[in-house]
């Protein structure tokens, strides 16, 4: 019964990961790709964390899984904000379909702008 629930939750999580990956490959500009990535991955990882937590042997293990999920949420949200701001500064307005700040633009910002003033 618990195994079946775990299986169901991990499959649901994988579907979110798959959707996020398709979004990253197919969406036209940086902001919509970020949207696909952060929303789908956070929820996908949450479902998989839940699936793993059902299999855990102790409350301490569950606490660690929850902590990992929370840290990933925090890191993903922060880095998405920073990438989005750099993309905005470099001229790709959200939904514009322009791709000025694609992945190859990272690391190529001029020296004065290394930090996106976050």
């Amino acid at each position: 019964m618990i195994d079946a629930a775990s299986l169901l939750l991990s499959v649901a999580g994988l579907i979110f990961f798959l959707a996020g990956t398709v979004g990253i490959l197919r969406f036209p500009d940086t902001h919509s790709r970020l949207h696909a990535l952060t929303k789908a991955d956070n929820l996908g990882l949450g479902l998989i964390a839940l699936a793993v937590a059902l299999q855990a042997e102790s409350w301490a293990a569950i606490a660690k899984i929850v902590l990992i999920w929370a840290l990933v949420l925090l890191a993903a949200g922060t880095s998405a904000q920073l990438v989005a701001r750099v993309a905005l500064q470099q001229g790709g307005a959200p939904g514009s379909g322009r791709d000025d700040a694609g992945p190859d633009a990272v690391g190529s910002t001029p020296s004065g702008q290394r930090d996106p003033a976050g």
């Binding site: 890191a75 920073l82 290394r114 930090d115 003033a117 976050g118």
Partner: protein
């Protein structure tokens, strides 16, 4: 069945991203492939039951090396001209690529030959297990790294120190002794500075725990120091603490504390039995002292390696 399938897919993915890292055109894509490669290899070590190696690979192989490569890429891009060529590109003979390929293949062949010529391994499990009690440690990997083969660890930290001196030597004369990297400007209360305040407590806890736990289970000075260096770098990127001047005395003291005490204890061993020999009764004390100071020095070394040469005058 499922385990074998997982392993086969993992091995195929490792080979795939390795080929991708070498063959891809863009340097950024190659670096990202290399980081993914490191994470997959860390997973492979976990599958082989080598948790210590997996931790080190994830922290240093994928994390730290990845950040170093990204930093190097940023510097290369800053120096490239509009058309993507360096302003004063040295003339490179066309033959350099085939020659480099041949050299790499020859090195690989020599390594493979050396490996195949080794006598069949009977493993060092038994001797390590027999002598583990004398080291007063529970983790055989730490016993090897800091007792049986402490020589290697001592040299590794000195090599890292030499690498840092090499990085510093790239500093322009005007900036010598000054602060490494660029000044970070962040909005107070912004995303990055909030993140920089939120994460360090967790990171400090994990880093110190990795070092402490290393005596009896997977973990150790290198892995812990990588986490602690990451915490330091995050605080620095969030504008919470500026990088120290490389000429500052406390910084240099922190850099050499680990290797210096390690070396001093190794020399002290001469009066007992020989260089690097630890009297069995004092093993735990010596190991913990060396490991704690090594963690401090390695944290500072790794952080400064990422921050790069001094760029701002003292």
């Amino acid at each position: 069945m499922i385990d074998t399938g997982f392993d086969v897919i993992l091995a195929a993915m490792i080979l795939g991203v390795a080929a991708g890292a070498v063959l891809t055109r863009g340097m950024f894509a190659a670096v990202v492939m290399f980081i993914v490669y490191g994470l997959l290899v860390a997973l492979a070590w976990l599958r082989l039951g080598a948790v210590d190696v997996g931790l080190a690979e994830a922290a240093i192989g994928a994390g730290l090396t990845g950040v170093l490569l990204l930093g190097a890429l940023g510097r290369v891009n800053r120096q490239l001209g509009e058309d993507g060529t360096p302003p004063d590109a040295p003339h490179r003979p066309a033959a350099i690529r085939p020659v480099a390929l041949l050299a790499a293949l020859a090195t690989a062949a020599a390594l493979a030959w050396g490996f195949l010529m080794l006598p069949p391994p009977d493993g060092l499990h038994a001797p390590v297990a027999q002598n583990l009690a004398a080291t007063q440690l529970g983790n055989p990997v730490t016993a090897v790294l800091l007792n049986f083969r402490a020589w290697d660890t001592l040299l590794e930290t000195i090599i890292l120190l030499a690498a840092l001196v090499g990085v510093w030597s790239l500093a322009p004369d005007a900036a010598w002794g000054g602060r490494p990297g660029l000044a970070q400007r962040t909005r107070s209360g912004g995303v990055l500075s909030s993140f920089g305040r939120l994460l360090p407590p967790v990171g400090l806890l994990v880093g110190v725990w990795l070092v402490w736990a290393g005596a009896d289970r997977p973990g150790g000075a290198f892995q812990g120091a990588t986490v602690l260096a990451a915490v330091w770098l995050l605080a620095s990127m969030a504008g919470l603490s500026d990088a120290p001047r490389v000429a500052s005395l406390w910084l240099r003291a922190a850099l050499i504390a680990g290797p210096a005490v390690f070396l001093a204890l190794a020399l002290a061993g001469l009066s007992v039995a020989g260089f690097l020999i630890v009297p069995p009764g004092a093993a735990k004390l010596v190991t913990v002292t060396v490991e704690a100071l090594l963690t401090l020095s390695l944290t500072v070394m790794l952080g400064l390696l990422v921050l790069g040469p001094p760029e701002r005058a003292a």
